[in-house]
C-alpha cells in the first residue's frame, strides 16, 4: 500500500508549521504584518518564485541545476516588454513570455545535455552570457512605464480571480500528473539517482533532461510575463537573486539537491516560507540588505541538516535489516 500521505510527508508538514509560526511571530513583531493587504502582497510577490521554483524542482530532481534562470527570466521579460511597447495585443505579449522561456530553456538544456558539461558549470557560464544579453538588449537603459494592457489582463483574471492563481494551480497539477502518471516521473527520478544506471536500463537520459530544461524554461518565461505585468518595467539587474532563492526554496521543500527525490508541495511551501520571512523581517525593521543573507542561511541550514542526516542513515544502513530509507516523496 502506498502511504496516502506520501505527497505530504514529514518535511511538508514541518514547512506548513514553520509558515504558520512565521505568520504568528511577525504578527507579534509588526503591527503592519497581519492584514489582508500585506498577506496578499506576500502571495503576489511569490508568483514568479513559485513558477521558477516548480521548474527548478524538476531540474534538481533529474540531477541538474540552473543558476542562470534569473537572468534568463530577464531576457524573456525584455521580449514581453518590447512587444508591449510595440503595441502588440497583451494576450500575445503575455504568451510570448513562456514561448521565449521555452526557447531559452532549450538552449540552456542543449549546452548542458549535448555539451556534456556539468549543469552547475554550464549554467554559471550561461549566467554571464545571458547577463551580457540583457545589457545588449537594454543598452544601459531600463524598460519602464510599459503599457498597462498586460497588467490589467493579469489583475482582472478570470471571474475576479487573479490570473496568477489558476496559472500556478494548473502548473502544479500538470507537473504532478507528469511525475506520477507518466514515464517522465520514474525516468526523471532514476536519472537523478544515477545517470549511468538509468542509461543501462534503457531510459532516454538526454530526452528526459532536455524535457526538464524546456519545461523549466517555459515556466521561467511565464514568470517573466507576470513580472512585467506586476512591475511594468525591466531593470538591468532583473533576476539577480532569483536562482538562489529558487534553489533555496526547492531544497527547503525536500527535493534532493543531488537528484532522485522531488516534492512539488514542498517547493510551494518553501517559496511561501521564504517570502513570509523576507516580508516579515522587512516589516520588523530588518534592512532589506539582509534578505539574501536570510536566503543563503536557510539554504546552508537545510543542506547542513541533510548532510548530518546522510551520516546518520549511513550508520543505520550498516545494521542488518537494510536500514532506513529516506522515503521518496514524489509530490
Amino acid at each position: 500500500m502506498r502511504n496516502p500521505l506520501d505527497w505530504f510527508g514529514r518535511r511538508e508538514a514541518l514547512l506548513a508549521v514553520a509558515c504558520m509560526a512565521a505568520v504568528l511571530l511577525f504578527s507579534i513583531l509588526s503591527p503592519y504584518f497581519f492584514n489582508a493587504d500585506n498577506l496578499s502582497a506576500v502571495l503576489n510577490n511569490s508568483v514568479e518564485l513559485l513558477l521558477v521554483g516548480l521548474g527548478m524542482t524538476l531540474l534538481l530532481g533529474v540531477g541538474g541545476i540552473d543558476v542562470s534562470v534569473g537572468v534568463a527570466m530577464g531576457l524573456a521579460a525584455i521580449a514581453v516588454g518590447r512587444l508591449l511597447q510595440a503595441g502588440v495585443n497583451p494576450v500575445v505579449a503575455g504568451l510570448a513570455g513562456p514561448a521565449a522561456g521555452l526557447v531559452i530553456g532549450a538552449a540552456t538544456g542543449s549546452v548542458v545535455v549535448f555539451g556534456r558539461i556539468p549543469a552547475i558549470v554550464a549554467t554559471l557560464g550561461l549566467y554571464g552570457v545571458y547577463r551580457a544579453g540583457i545589457y545588449l538588449c537594454l543598452g544601459g537603459d531600463w524598460l519602464s512605464g510599459l503599457p498597462v494592457g498586460l497588467t490589467d489582463l493579469v489583475g482582472t483574471g478570470i471571474a475576479g480571480v487573479p490570473l496568477a492563481f489558476p496559472c500556478v494551480a494548473i502548473t502544479y497539477l500538470a507537473l504532478y500528473v507528469a511525475l506520477r502518471r507518466t514515464p517522465f516521473g520514474p525516468h526523471l527520478l532514476a536519472i537523478g539517482h544515477s545517470e549511468a544506471k538509468a542509461r543501462l536500463s534503457g531510459v532516454s537520459v538526454n530526452r528526459t533532461q532536455m524535457l526538464a530544461f524546456i519545461v523549466s524554461g517555459a515556466l521561467m518565461g511565464l514568470a517573466a510575463s507576470f513580472y512585467v505585468a506586476t512591475y511594468r518595467n525591466v531593470e538591468m539587474t532583473i533576476g539577480g537573486t532569483l536562482a538562489l532563492e529558487a534553489i533555496a526554496a526547492v531544497v527547503l521543500g525536500g527535493t534532493s539537491v543531488t537528484g532522485g527525490r522531488v516534492s512539488l508541495v514542498g517547493t510551494i511551501l518553501g517559496v511561501l516560507l521564504l517570502r513570509l520571512l523576507q516580508n516579515g523581517l522587512l516589516l520588523s525593521g530588518v534592512p532589506s540588505l539582509w534578505q539574501p543573507v536570510v536566503t543563503g542561511l536557510l539554504l546552508l541550514t537545510v543542506l547542513g541538516i541533510e548532510a548530518a542526516q546522510g551520516r546518520l542513515s549511513l550508520a543505520t544502513l550498516l545494521r542488518p535489516k537494510g536500514g532506513r530509507l529516506a522515503s521518496r516523496v514524489a509530490q
Binding site: M1, R2, R181, T182, P183, G185, P186, H187, L189, A190, G192, H193, S194, K197, A198, L200, S201, G202, V203, S204, G260, R261, G322, L325, S327, R328
Partner: protein, 256 residues
C-alpha cells in the same frame, strides 16, 4: 542433442597488445545452467561482455539458429533475448520494484498523445513475476532501497524475465550476499533453468557452482581449457584447472 540457443565459434578478443580471449568454442543450451569459472583476468568477463553486446569480438562468430549474429550494442543483444544482470545491479533504489522492473519500458496508454502509465497492469505483471520466482515479496510498490541483497537479485531477474529473456547472464550474483540470501538466489537460478531458460553463471564460488550448475567451463589466460558436466568432475579437479596445476593444462601450456 537439442540445438544450442547460441554457439560461440572460435571467439577471440584483443585489446591492443593484450589477447584477452582466443579460440573459445562454447555452446549454450536452454534449460541449463552453465558456470564460467576462472581466475581474475582469465577472460570469462570478456566472454560474457561479448555475449551481452558490450564488446565486439575481434574474431570468430556467435551463431543463433544456425546463422551468425552480430551484437553492436547491449540493445541488440537484449533484442535477441539475452539479458545480463551485472554485479552492480542497475536498479534505482529510490524507485519501487514495479517501476524498476518496467524502467525504460513502461506500459502506457495514450490520451491525447500523452503516455499515461498503466500502474495496475504493471503491478499485476510484477506480482506474477515475483510469484513465479517464489521471491516472497508481496508488494511491488515497495522501494528497492528497502530490500535485501537477495531480494534485489530477484527484482533484477524479474526485470530480465519481463524482457522475455531466453538467456540470463549473471555476473557474481552471490558475491555480496549472506548465506541464507545466497541459497535463495541459487534457487532462483535453478528455477530459471528449469523453466527452460539458458543461464550463464559467472562465479568464483566453487560451492555455489557445484550446487547449481549443470555444466562447468573453466577459462585460463584467455582460453577455455576445460568443459565438464558437473557429474563428471569435482571441485578439486576444477581448482586444478583454474590454477593450472592439472596435467592437461600443463601439457597444453607447454605446447604454446
Amino acid at each position: 542433442m537439442t540445438r544450442p540457443f547460441i554457439e560461440a565459434r572460435d571467439i577471440s578478443k584483443r585489446f591492443g597488445a593484450l589477447q584477452a580471449l582466443s579460440g573459445v568454442d562454447l555452446d549454450i543450451f536452454e534449460g541449463e545452467v552453465l558456470a564460467l569459472l576462472g581466475d581474475n583476468g582469465a577472460g570469462k568477463s570478456t566472454f560474457v561482455k561479448i555475449l551481452s553486446g558490450a564488446h565486439a569480438p575481434t574474431g570468430g562468430d556467435l551463431v543463433m539458429d544456425g546463422r551468425p549474429v552480430e551484437f553492436a550494442s547491449p540493445q541488440d543483444s537484449a533484442a535477441a533475448g539475452i539479458a545480463t544482470i551485472f554485479q552492480e545491479l542497475a536498479l534505482s533504489e529510490n524507485l519501487s520494484i514495479a517501476e524498476n522492473v518496467f524502467l525504460g519500458r513502461e506500459l502506457t496508454h495514450r490520451v491525447l498523445g500523452v503516455p499515461f502509465l498503466r500502474h495496475t497492469a504493471m503491478k499485476r505483471r510484477v506480482g506474477e513475476l515475483l510469484r513465479e520466482l517464489d521471491a516472497h515479496i508481496s508488494d511491488p510498490e515497495v522501494p528497492v532501497g528497502s530490500l535485501s541483497g537477495g531480494q534485489r537479485q530477484a527484482v533484477a531477474i524479474s526485470r530480465a524475465l519481463n524482457l522475455n529473456a531466453r538467456l540470463v547472464i549473471m555476473d557474481e550474483p552471490t558475491a555480496a550476499l549472506a548465506v541464507a540470501e545466497t541459497r535463495k538466489v541459487l534457487q532462483l537460478i535453478r528455477k530459471l533453468a528449469d523453466s527452460g531458460r539458458a543461464v550463464i553463471l559467472v562465479s568464483h564460488n566453487m560451492h555455489d557452482v557445484f550446487e547449481v550448475a549443470d555444466r562447468i567451463a573453466v577459462f585460463r589466460r584467455g582460453r577455455k581449457i576445460a568443459e565438464k558436466m558437473r557429474a563428471e568432475t569435482n571441485p578439486e579437479e576444477v581448482v586444478s584447472f583454474i590454477t593450472g596445476a592439472h596435467p592437461d593444462v600443463r601439457a597444453l601450456e607447454m605446447q604454446s
